[in-house]
Symmetry: D2
Subunit: 335 residues, 4 copies
């Protein structure tokens, strides 16, 4: 059994990690750490776990030795915690934004504060098994990309060599990405039915996408009506026709367990839609071409493939277990 601790376990990503790990036949949750709710039952905060666990949250002081430490703590906080807590675990998998970028200056540009542990930035392997499977098998520090970044990276990677360097990404996100502590702007009455362009330019995930695709990515992001779910629509320039595109996507993803190519000519489900993916670890990718323009599309559940699921997938790779273990839920239709 892989012994696992989760920090930030009372948040939405923390809850999703607990759901996956408690149902995973190869892992044991040693600690679910929360600074807000130490001592309180986990299922009082994550009510979907009622009947599944009697676990209570631990205080950060009770962190114990484990095989894998999962950090679901906030951006800007994680970088101050990690240097201290990493000694408890052989492998640390970070779900925050703090170790995604290799360059402290770029970090500061997008996160607005200097980095607290710049010396560690270069040591993290990105938590994208589709790109870094071999490296992840031996990694001690793993950083899972942002949810829209993972979607855009998987949508765009097959286009390398087929498109010009500039890509415009239009991301749409559900409300759970703002976390369980979001303020008045995320009240139901305010957020329900909104199309809220919260990042008209320079969404912070564009730096990650540029890094891992080699493209010059710009990202706009809009909150739409959904709790879970991310979709990216990426606009690029290139002359490839749809047949060429299909071949490229198949070459990249033909053997991937969690990337499906969804690019039909007709039908309500012809292209990737996160509506189908709640709870699943799939990232669906699709494409279309019109003359010199190429549109690439991806969808995922931001809390699963865009966070906790990707982390468990990395854990499986790192610990030598079957990559899909504990991640078999296929998603629901209709929902």
């Amino acid at each position: 059994m892989i012994r696992v601790c989760v920090m930030g376990a009372a948040g939405y990503l923390g809850g999703e990690l607990l759901r996956l790990l408690l149902g995973h036949p190869g892992t044991e949750v040693a600690r679910a750490v929360s600074t807000r709710f130490p001592g309180r039952r986990v299922d009082s905060v994550h009510p979907n776990l009622r009947g599944r666990t009697a676990l209570a949250f631990s205080s950060p002081d009770d962190l114990d030795a484990c095989d894998v430490l999962l950090m679901a703590t906030p951006h800007r906080t994680t970088m101050t915690l990690l240097p201290e807590v990493r000694r408890h675990a052989r492998t640390v998998i970070d779900l925050s934004g703090d170790f995604r970028l290799p360059d402290a200056a770029v970090y500061e540009r997008y996160y607005g504060v200097p980095h607290a542990a710049p010396e560690l930035l270069g040591e993290f392997v990105p938590g994208v098994p589709e790109l870094f499977r071999a490296e992840l098998a031996g990694a001690d520090l793993i950083s899972v990309p942002g949810c829209t970044a993972t979607a855009a990276i998987l949508a765009l990677r097959p286009l390398a060599g087929l498109v010009g360097p500039d890509v415009q990404i239009d991301a749409r996100t559900g409300s759970s990405g703002s976390g369980a502590l979001a303020g008045d702007a995320n009240l139901h009455a305010e957020r329900s039915g909104a199309m809220r362009v919260f990042a008209p330019v320079r969404h912070r995930h564009e730096a990650e996408v540029s890094r891992l695709t080699g493209l010059n990515a710009r990202m706009t992001a809009t909150g739409v009506e959904a709790v879970r779910g991310v979709q990216v629509v990426c606009h690029a320039t290139g002359a490839a026709d749809e047949r060429t595109l299909r071949r490229a996507y198949r070459e990249h993803y033909g053997g991937e367990p969690f990337v499906r190519i969804v690019a039909h000519r007709t039908g309500a489900h012809r292209l990737p839609d996160p509506k189908l993916l709640s709870g699943s670890n799939y990232c669906d990718v699709g494409f279309a071409a019109d003359g010199d323009r190429i549109t690439a599309i991806a969808a995922l559940d931001n809390l699963v493939k865009g966070g906790a699921g990707a982390a468990v997938q990395c854990l499986n790779v790192r610990t030598g277990q079957p990559e899909t273990l504990g991640l078999e839920f296929p998603g629901l239709h209709p929902i």
Copy 2:
């Protein structure tokens, strides 16, 4: 021009009052009072009013003489403010729960605190023109019922004499009823798609309904997915058939400008549904019978006929203007 001041103008009911009063040809908004945002533009908080007003919020200290003072301040606060501020206006219309019940002991039972101005409780006329039109024409103190109470009162009044004394009311409400300051439980991710039974027994509006219908009302309330909108389904016992019921509703509401009888045998819109009523001042009422059971149904927009619209309707009656003035918006379909 009727000179009007609004207290609690930054809340949802306050915003709805401003929308109605700024579009009303017979009223002038002298003050929009907010303790949170004095000096800030009204349209920065109520963005639907952009381009409609350059008004800024006033501090409570700047309250000025007016014809009608509208109180959209919170329960428990209003009863401490009202004795002091009422001198500024000829007529006060209160939208809070503080002056709806004539009995301080009943108030304490439902609101959990002793009443701060029990001597005023008996002086308020209920803000239900369909029942108290004549009294409202001369009233100096008016108290608008709760949103689910108004719906239930209008649904049940025609049944007097046709049903037994006990009635079970099942209320469903949108999230705007919780106000603009609601906490974590009303985050979009938590509240979206919920069916949250927040009052399985003894909803506080049941006392108002019992008082104004003469029935022994019990009320259960569930928050469902909607921002605006209240629906009540009332279960009573009685032998009247649907023809008798229709006659009773027609007698009560045949001449009412804001109560529509909606009771068809088939069709998607056969019975009252708040989906059709957003922004409108209608209360739709309907009914059905099966043997010895009678079901009465009503729907309204909680911020309009369930609050601000009812208040403006009362203002019109009190100030001798046409009762429908400023309240003509019919609602949208589809929406």
Copy 3:
């Protein structure tokens, strides 16, 4: 391996059966029968199964011998099919309404047509393991109750002896219960955000509830904004306090794998809410008391515990497999 055939496999319940059975370690799907789409790939209709199966729909003529035949065909059609197709299987589990009532006259009253196979009505065991586990272990004909009926039966059973005979059930349902072939009234623009009282009196499930609880049940039903999910709020009369109620529910459900008691005093998740249950086989039950009134509440996913999941649970019981096999998904939060 249990060999299973599904009829009506292209509908919503059929798709949910396929999702559960394809992920079930003890079953093999021999046929997925559809009259509409014979020959077409299953995942073209149920896109959540992409990457999970290469199965295509069969024509009804290709039905083959199997251990368990699951009928997800429409009401009124199933009773004409079943006498013919039952010879293919040792056990038939019917998810339609056609064999839920033991009396042809009651059937005709609620379904509007005479029953086509009245001689079979008495042979079916209700598909409620919580009530009929022993009988189901040997049953050859099983009839799964309606979704709101299952919820109401599980909510009310512990109240036997504690309440008077009359109970008023208020059911709220999502849109998936209308099926994949619903007409204009279920267009998104019409159904979105609705509170549509489609059965103000005499919902057809009330007969099933009366039968299995021994109470005199009346049921009203309203479509609210949700795709999946059923909630019932049941109003009864009785003097039991909450402590007595809790003891009764614990006695009934303390050992049940799929019934959870959810009855807290505070919190957003204090009482059963189907929002938490999408994809899970739980039925959450709760209660509250006020004087002589008792409110009982239940929630479930209409396509799982209210249909396909209950059928698989019965299949597990009937075939001697662990009752929870293939039904482990806990549901998501937030969603």
Copy 4:
């Protein structure tokens, strides 16, 4: 009184025209024509008009002389009807797509059929008062642009001279744009919560946008969870900073009654969001810049400023009435 006939009056745009015209002090609805429902009451199809009108639908044979004929008939049908019915009216305002493009070959490319009345194509004035106010004052044939086209045109017009020729438009739309006769793909269970990219490339409105902005517009469109509402996010290249952009938008729209500039640095309502606009005739426009990239954003209600409201605004201009008459509803918040 302006005498008006509406063809296609039973559809969603037809219903919205009736709502606006019945509430308009300067118009009289002479005929509401429907081929589906002749003789049936208008409020049986448009239930928000209950209590507002006793009008019944007319058959197309009963079309009568009028000042303005409004065509809310389907694409491809309208071009066959118009040559015949235009003799009934001095002015025809067409809301379909059939007369938006001046070139029959471009029409055929986007609509898939040859044009039936190509000789009329050059005679229509686009129904965009912000661009063609003078021409509209004397126009006999007016063609209202598509909903996403109007949004994009108003978002992009101020950028002429500030951006390069290529613009990528990302449009998001609600379900009402598919009309009241949409098929299975628009069932609530399928469409609810979707992010459905129905036009990954070459949305048909791009031709209109290119024509009226002088840019080379490409448009992608996604259906998101909403009934009403369109938002466009337009990506262009140019060096203008936000101050320059603001000046450009103010120059274009400073005096416009229905275009508001919404471009704040922070806040939940910082940029245009159709959530605020249901029922209103506003088109909100905003912008942001980052280096050499410019993002322009617009939002509107597709049935009002994107259709029926624009038509009434054109009618007002054409008939010499105040441009805002009958279009005063400001929209709701929260909703």
